[in-house]
Each structure stands twice: as structure tokens, then as C-alpha cells.
């Protein structure tokens, strides 16, 4: 086990995908760290490698080279069973297309990660209630996803991502299918949860308007980190490279 103080440590990560006889480099020697309690946006145009990076941090893909440490554990070297356990206990996911189970109600969707963890029924009820309340959708608990608006669905997805108290929540373009008002509300909701519960959020977006109130932004271009901007504290910006379209 490797030891660092960061919750997430991305160390010189490269990810290549085979394509015919060539390989496409989605991420090229990316490195940065995320501390517990941070609220971090990964920004960049389409094809810059945002989703690939989130997949790697979320342990649902493995880097071609380099390593990713989650809570000081090198996720790249874990067995499939341990990787599944790490995802189950440490990470919450929010997806661009909500990805709720359509035959489950809102509360049953939120309950699912607890079910997988083997949490008792009474505990599940309590924690689902808390999670739904934290996203302001207690009244919609027994509605199926097809009866909810896009904004409500994504808030249910956020409740599902936080219900098991993960150390890290990953959101891949969570606002891409929402209008501006719902998108802003969702980012505000995630920021509130980050502040109130101390949850670490990493989300990807290419929407510049949503980045205005984001304390730290890692910008990607062509698979490389081109800047790592922190607006909190000293208002630090580290420009690493220029993005060449």
C-alpha cells in the first residue's frame, strides 16, 4: 500500500485505446491530487479525456501506465473483487443520463447501493429518508423515474450517490441533460452537500457558466492537464500547457 495525504492521487496516468492497428491516447501523463472535502471540476472540450479520467478515478477502467491512489490504495493493482468493494464502499456515481433503474421508485433507487452493501432494512429506510431530504425530494420518494423531471431525476441520482456516505462522489457531466436553471441548482446542491457533509466531489463539465462558483478547476485538453486553478484561498492558478485546437 502506498501512503499519501490526498484522497485521490493521479500519478503520471496515461490511457490509450486500441483502434484498428493504432492506439488513441485519451490521457497523456496526467497528474494531480485531490484532498478530502474538495469540490473539483474537470473542465475541457468534448474529447479532452474528462470521462476517461473520471472512469479511471472511479475504478471502472485501468490506466495504460501510471497509477491512481484512492485513500492511499493503488486501485490499478487491486483484484476485481477488491476493486468492486472499493467502488461500493468509497465512491458514489452520478451519470450524465441519470441511469436510474426504471422499474424502481425514487426511494428504491436511492436504496440500491445500501442493498448491495448489505445494510439492514431499518438502517436503509433511515438513510434513504435522510438522503432524499438532503436533495429536497422526500415528497417524490414513491414516484418512478419516468414520472420525474430531468432535474428531479438527477437529484435522485445525487441522493443515490451519497446515501452510503462515500468518501468520494464522481459526477460525469451531470448537467449535460439539464437546462441552465436545473444545472445551476444541481451544482449548488452538490456544493451544499460538499460543505455540509464534507463530501469530496469531482465532476466533469464543458459548460463554462457552471465553473464560476467552483473553487478548483482542472482543465484538460487533448488528454493533458493544461491548468489547475484554485479560486479559494490565494486564488492560485497553475497553467501547465496551452490548448492547441
Amino acid at each position: 500500500m502506498d501512503r499519501t495525504d490526498a484522497l485521490v492521487s493521479v500519478e503520471d496516468v496515461t490511457r490509450k485505446f486500441p483502434l484498428d492497428h493504432n492506439a488513441v491516447t485519451a490521457l497523456n501523463h496526467v497528474s494531480f491530487q485531490v484532498n478530502a472535502g474538495e469540490f473539483l471540476a474537470i473542465a475541457g472540450p468534448s474529447g479532452s479525456g474528462k470521462s476517461t479520467l473520471l472512469n479511471l478515478i472511479g475504478c471502472i477502467d485501468k490506466p495504460t501506465s501510471g497509477r491512481i491512489l484512492i485513500n492511499s490504495v493503488n486501485a490499478s493493482t487491486l483484484s476485481p473483487a477488491r476493486t468492486t468493494q472499493l467502488r461500493r464502499e468509497t465512491i458514489g456515481f452520478v451519470f450524465q443520463t441519470f441511469n436510474l433503474i426504471p422499474v424502481f421508485t425514487a426511494s428504491e433507487n436511492v436504496e440500491f447501493p445500501l442493498l448491495v452493501q448489505g445494510v439492514s432494512a431499518s438502517d436503509r429506510r433511515k438513510r434513504v429518508g435522510e438522503a432524499l431530504e438532503s436533495v429536497g425530494l422526500s415528497a417524490r420518494a414513491h414516484h418512478r423515474p419516468d414520472l420525474l423531471s430531468g432535474g428531479e431525476r438527477q437529484r435522485i441520482a445525487v441522493a443515490r450517490a451519497i446515501v452510503h456516505h462515500p468518501a468520494l462522489v464522481l459526477a460525469d457531466e451531470p448537467t449535460a441533460n439539464l437546462d441552465t436553471q436545473n444545472a445551476t441548482q444541481l451544482i449548488d446542491l452538490m456544493r451544499d452537500l460538499n460543505r455540509s457533509l464534507g463530501l469530496t466531489f469531482i465532476f466533469s463539465t464543458h459548460d463554462q457558466r457552471l465553473l464560476e462558483h467552483t473553487p478548483r478547476i482542472v482543465r484538460l485538453c487533448d488528454g493533458q492537464v493544461i491548468s489547475d486553478t484554485s479560486t479559494e484561498g490565494a486564488g492560485h492558478e497553475q497553467v501547465l500547457a496551452a490548448c492547441v485546437p
Binding site: S51, N55, G58, I60, D61, A81, T84, Q85, R87, R88, E89, F93, F95, T97, N99, I101, P102, V103, F104, E108, E111, F112, P113, L115, V116, Q117, R160
Partner: protein
């Protein structure tokens, strides 16, 4: 676990049209098996009871010699003290009665023409008390009276061959136990139609007393035991066998199933046909269900990816798909049971008949029995078939690459 079951149950009804089609297909298979199996069961049960009622009885007692060697003369291996044995057997539980029989053969003549007959001699009163029926189409059954003309029943084919009718006289010639030729004149009391043309061409029946006079012997070939119900055969046989030991002759007790060669052949044939049908239904359900379940898996690729991303063990995904298929199979079985029993009841109420099979001269009822073991077996078969069909889709689903599954459109 209950939520997991709930998820599987709701997934079954996710695509209603496809589910209904699958249920109809699975249910149709079960219905087909129930109707075919129910008809076969009716046929074999009917054949069993016909075989027993037509004179085989539930058990028969012979001398051991009857099976050890061929008779040189008629009744060589017959039973001597049959009255004592019959009295002993009659006191047993579930025994309705005992009928002595003589099986013999000889020549029959009308003065102008002769033919071979296969004769059986019976005690008409004992036969009637056991419920053994003789299909007398013209005339009447043997009366059993001691005086007057010797009565005979002959097969319809033999009557036609000899050009005789009820009331006409015939002469029977047979070899006695001493090897001498003996004859007796008989009057035809009735014409019999057994339903089997070959048998009717040689069939002749007279009373036991007449046969004993003809054959010059007090022996009988065997004793036929009738019970109150066929289901009691095994229990009665176990109880009777010890009581047949220690007598002057070594005796053997045969159950009806040991003597009903034709019944066993028919039952084996029906079982073979039914197994073949079952195999076809199993394969049909299996192959079409694999396709249906693969489609369901493809449609839910992103959802499976989401579940796996959230840390759902891959074994759970396999179990979920297999559970869904098993539920689908169980529902299909229920549909099939309802359909099969309903159609069976309709067929039974319609009073349908099948044409006579080759070698038979009477129509056969078309009825369907409701057999519980058949219902359970058919239902289990389709459930297992669906469960087997889900293995490939379930394994494919569990092996999905999460990142690829999440980006599946």
C-alpha cells in the same frame, strides 16, 4: 433479498408485449405436454383397466411348472387342489374373488368346415362376480347351468369363418390329459367382439365344467384373483405370497403387470413419444428464450453497467437474470397449467372419439386425464428450460466492461 426479487419481478413485466409472447410460448408448450400426456395417461389407464377387466385380473396363480416347461398334454402343469387354494386366497383383504380358468386349444367343426380355436374355460358366476366383462354382441353370456346343451361363446371372426349364428351347433375336438382325442357338441350362446380381429378369429369360451369333461381332468390352468382396486395389487401380493408356500404343489403368484405384455409395450411406446415431445418443447423454449433474454440484456446494458459501477457483485447480475428467467418460466407454467386444464376439460366435455387403431374394431374415447405428476413435471421442465436459457445472457451481462456499458446507446 426481497428487493432483489422485486427487481426481478418488475423486470419481467418491463416489456409487456415481449413478456406476453414469451408466456404464450412457454404456456403453449406446457399446455401441449399436458394434453398429450393427459391423453396418453387416459389411454394407458384405460388399457390397464380393460386388460384387467377383460379377464387378466389383478393377479394370477399358476404352478411353478407352468413356467418351467411346456405341457406335453393339456393341463400337465395345471393346479390340482385349486378349490382349497381359491378358498385360502378369498379370505385375504381387498380380494373380491377368485376365478378358476382353463386355457386349451383344439379344432371346431360345423360338419362341413373345421377351424382351430383358442379356448378358455371359465366359471361364469365367478367371472361375473369379479366384474370381468365379455363383449357379447349377439346372444347372451354363458349361464353356468349344469343341465342341457353345452354352451359356448365364439369370436365374431370365428363365427363368420364357420358361417354360424347364435343357436347353431358346433363340435369341439380336443386332446385329453391322457393324450386321447375327445369331442363335445356345443350350442352357440353368443358372439363376442373383443375388438382385436386376430383374437376374434380364434376365440372360443365354454364353462369350466364343460372343459373338464372335454379334457377329462379336474385340474385348472390358473386361478385369477380380482381385487377391489388396482392400486392394492402390490400390497395384496406381498400378503398372499407366504400363504401359497407349503402346499402340495409349488405355486407362483404373478401380478397383472407381469402378464400384460401388450400393455407394457403400449406404455413404453407412449412414454417414448411423450419424452420425445418433452425434449422438443424443452429445446423450443430454450432456443426462443435465449433470443428473448439476450434482447433484454442488450436493452439493459447501461443499467447493468450502472449497477456494476455501484459495486454490485457480478454474481448478483447473473443471479438477477436467472431469477427473472425462472420467474418467467414459473409464470409461463401457470399459464400453461391453466390452458391445459381448461382445454382438457373442454375436450372431455365434448365426448370426442378417435377412429379404431390398426387391428382394433372399436372406436376409442378421446379424453384427457388431469395428472398432478404431469403438471408438476411439465412446469419444472419449462422453469429449468428458462433457467438454462438465461445462463448465456446472464454470463454476458455479468462480463460487461463497465465503462463500455455506461456509454452504450
Amino acid at each position: 433479498m426481497s428487493k432483489f426479487l422485486l427487481l426481478a419481478f418488475r423486470n419481467v413485466f418491463r416489456n409487456r408485449r415481449r413478456t406476453i409472447m414469451t408466456l404464450l410460448m412457454v404456456g403453449g408448450g406446457v399446455t401441449g405436454l399436458l394434453l398429450a400426456g393427459g391423453y396418453f395417461a387416459f389411454m394407458t389407464r384405460g388399457l390397464r383397466e380393460d386388460t384387467i377387466r377383460n379377464g387378466l385380473g389383478h393377479m394370477q396363480i399358476f404352478t411353478a411348472d407352468h413356467f418351467r416347461r411346456d405341457e406335453v398334454h393339456v393341463l400337465d402343469t395345471g393346479i390340482d387342489n385349486w378349490r382349497q387354494i381359491a378358498a385360502t386366497v378369498s379370505t385375504g383383504g381387498h380380494v373380491r374373488g377368485v376365478a378358476p380358468r382353463i386355457e386349451f386349444y383344439g379344432m371346431v367343426s360345423n360338419g362341413a368346415k373345421s377351424s382351430v380355436f383358442m379356448g378358455s374355460a371359465v366359471d361364469p358366476i365367478a367371472e361375473t362376480s369379479l366384474g370381468f366383462s365379455t363383449r357379447v354382441t349377439t346372444g347372451h353370456n354363458l349361464s353356468g347351468k349344469a343341465e342341457g346343451e353345452v354352451e359356448a361363446l365364439i369370436g365374431a371372426g370365428l363365427a363368420k369363418s364357420m358361417n354360424v349364428k347364435v343357436g347353431d351347433g358346433l363340435t369341439l375336438l380336443a386332446v385329453t390329459t391322457d393324450g386321447a382325442l375327445n369331442g363335445v357338441d356345443v350350442q352357440i350362446a353368443g358372439i363376442v367382439n373383443n375388438g382385436i380381429a386376430e383374437l376374434d378369429a380364434r376365440y372360443l369360451r365354454i364353462t369350466l365344467a364343460s372343459a373338464q369333461r372335454l379334457l377329462q381332468s379336474d385340474r385348472v390352468t390358473n386361478l385369477v384373483v380380482g381385487l377391489d382396486a388396482t392400486e392394492n395389487t402390490d400390497a395384496v401380493a406381498i400378503a398372499l405370497e407366504p400363504r401359497l408356500h407349503g402346499l402340495s404343489q409349488e405355486l407362483v403368484l404373478k401380478k397383472w403387470i407381469d402378464l400384460a405384455a401388450y400393455y407394457k409395450q403400449v406404455r413404453t411406446m407412449f412414454n417414448g413419444i411423450f419424452l420425445f415431445m418433452g425434449l422438443i418443447v424443452f429445446l423450443m423454449v430454450l432456443m426462443s428464450s435465449v433470443n428473448t433474454l439476450l434482447m433484454a440484456m442488450m436493452e439493459r446494458t447501461r443499467e447493468i453497467g450502472t449497477m456494476l459501477a455501484m459495486g454490485t457483485p457480478r454474481a448478483w447480475v447473473v443471479a438477477l437474470f436467472m431469477l427473472e428467467a425462472t420467474l418467467l418460466g414459473a409464470l409461463g407454467a401457470i399459464v400453461g397449467l391453466a390452458g391445459g386444464n381448461l382445454l382438457g376439460a373442454l375436450i372431455n366435455s365434448a365426448g370426442l372419439h378417435m377412429p379404431p387403431p390398426p387391428g382394433y374394431t372399436v372406436q376409442i374415447s378421446f379424453r384427457v386425464l388431469h395428472v398432478p405428476s404431469l403438471m408438476i413435471g411439465s412446469s419444472l421442465m419449462v422453469v429449468v428450460s428458462l433457467a438454462c436459457a438465461s445462463i448465456l445472457p446472464a454470463i454476458r451481462a455479468s462480463r460487461l466492461q463497465i465503462a463500455e456499458a455506461l456509454s452504450h446507446v
